[in-house]
């Protein structure tokens, strides 16, 4: 067993430099690495490129890093629900690249799978296709999209062991498994960190080989964006 444990979020992010390219798991505020985002905030690294499906809300998730102007570029599929984001975008302080959600997921997967490019139908005939190579397969047009890789991938799982094996819970899985594979260094924070042997190998979602640093997070808020109940 190779022990991937670090003491906590501060140690996990200590060598993340200014202008690093980061991937951050999560969909909305579900399954986001809350502890590591706090540590990045505290560390004050600047000029970050953040690849994440969304940009958080004003006072939570990646929104916190926007408040402190630590993000130079955001690569995402949907960035509503964030007034500070909108302000920085309109004033030109923040660069934004919007990518169809399935293409974003697959570009991350390709990055972790050693596949530099692939063809997808999403975005054909739209402004997403501008400047991209297209090819026809079986009579249908597809766009070439490139892999995405990160200097540091930051993911959140439900359970993990010292070897870095991860299990996600519910829809908090989302982008975490692909992003975990696409980082030069991948940091995993988990709600529960257990010794090797305690997780059933049949149930592992992300094998530990993809994980370089793991720690048990604290004080998960798990904020809900749309608290919807049935009467």
């Amino acid at each position: 067993m190779i022990d991937k444990r670090v003491s906590g979020a501060e140690e996990a992010v200590q060598d993340i430099p200014d202008h690093a390219i980061l991937m951050l798991g999560g969909f909305g505020l579900c399954g986001i690495p809350e502890n590591t985002i706090q540590a990045l905030l505290k560390k004050g690294v600047k000029g970050l490129t953040c690849i994440s499906n969304n940009a958080g809300v004003d006072d939570f998730g990646i929104g916190l890093l926007l408040q402190t102007r630590q993000v130079k570029k955001m690569i995402a599929s949907y960035v509503g629900e964030n007034a500070e984001f909108e302000r920085q975008l309109l004033s030109g302080e923040l660069e934004v690249e919007l990518i169809p959600q399935g293409t974003l997921a697959e570009r991350c997967r390709a990055g972790g799978a050693g596949i530099p490019a692939f063809f997808t139908p999403a975005g054909v005939g739209t402004e997403v296709a501008e400047g991209k190579e297209t090819r026809i397969f079986d009579g249908k047009t597809y766009l070439m999209e490139h892999w995405l890789r990160a200097d540091f991938s930051i993911v959140k799982a439900w359970k993990g062991d010292y070897a870095g094996n991860l299990i996600y819970r519910g829809t908090a899985r989302n982008f975490n498994p692909m992003m975990a594979t696409a980082g030069n260094i991948t940091i995993a924070e988990v709600e529960e960190l257990v010794p090797p042997g305690e997780l059933d190998p049949n149930q592992i979602h992300t094998p530990g080989i993809f994980i370089h640093r793991i720690f048990q997070g604290k004080h998960y808020e798990k904020r809900i964006e749309q608290r919807t109940i049935s009467k």
Binding site: F27, G28, L29, C30, G31, N53, A76, S77, Y78, V79, G80, E86, L89, L90, L98, P100, Q101, G102, T103, L104, A105, E106, C108, R109, T120, P121, A122, G123, V124, G125, T126, E127, V128, W158, R169, G170, T171, A172, R173, N174, F175, N176, P177, M178, H205, K222, R223, I224, E225, Q226, R227, T228, I229, S230
Partner: protein, 218 residues
């Protein structure tokens, strides 16, 4: 004229036993409330859930279970959870049988625009481009005209396109229409109290009217 609930109720009649369905945000989400009990379908949420259940009761709320609109949800017996790449894999490979989504404009070729208004804040396309590029059957829920009375069923979309030649059927507040493979909107049904003449006036794109057009049954 139909209200949002009316549009959702009419679309629910298009839902058939055994379908895997992706519902977009807004009116499409309401469709789930009107699917008859004896029609068994599985609702897909592109953030990684097959088998979306009802909204939770207060004591059941769990932040790890949300739909693509970020609303808290529950699961059904037989539900499955997966990653975003698996999710869009099932969408691109055509395993999801029916996609229901909203639109700002649809052209007579079946092009759809629903993600961007130039000059306004761009929030992003989310999963819409992936869905419209791959779904075999797309039904659009929309208002026939803008608040100013301008038609949204056009010869060509004026807004940035989400996908080309993909819409099969439209349920608007005024009518049910089919997009013909060779182009044009074929009028299938009228909303209660709406005349063919009114629909003609509200449709900028080519409208095909053949024979008697029945009133919708909801």
């Amino acid at each position: 004229m139909l209200d949002k609930t009316g549009i959702a109720k009419r679309i629910a009649k298009e839902v058939k036993n055994g379908m895997y369905i992706n519902l977009g945000i807004g009116i499409p989400t309401l469709v789930a409330n009107y699917i008859p009990q004896n029609v068994h379908v599985v609702l897909q949420s592109e953030n990684g859930l097959l088998g979306i259940g009802p909204f939770p009761k207060e004591q059941e709320i769990d932040a790890d279970f949300i739909n693509a609109g970020k609303q808290t949800v529950t699961m059904m017996p037989g539900s499955a959870l997966f990653s975003s790449s698996d999710s869009f894999g099932m969408i691109r490979s055509g395993k999801v049988n029916l996609t229901i989504l909203g639109a700002m404009e649809v052209s007579e070729q079946g092009d759809i625009a629903n993600w961007k208004v130039p000059g306004k804040m761009v929030k992003g396309m989310g999963g819409a481009m992936d869905l419209v590029a791959s779904a075999k059957n797309i039904i659009v829920a929309m208002q026939h005209c803008s608040k100013e009375g301008a038609s949204k069923l056009l010869k060509n979309c004026s807004l940035p396109i989400t996908g080309l030649k993909c819409v099969k059927k439209i349920v608007s507040d005024m009518a049910v229409l089919e997009v013909m493979p060779e182009g044009g909107f074929r009028l299938l049904e009228r909303a209660p109290g709406v005349s063919v003449e009114q629909i003609k006036n509200a449709t900028e794109g080519h409208l095909l009217v053949a024979g008697e057009i029945p009133e919708m049954k909801i």
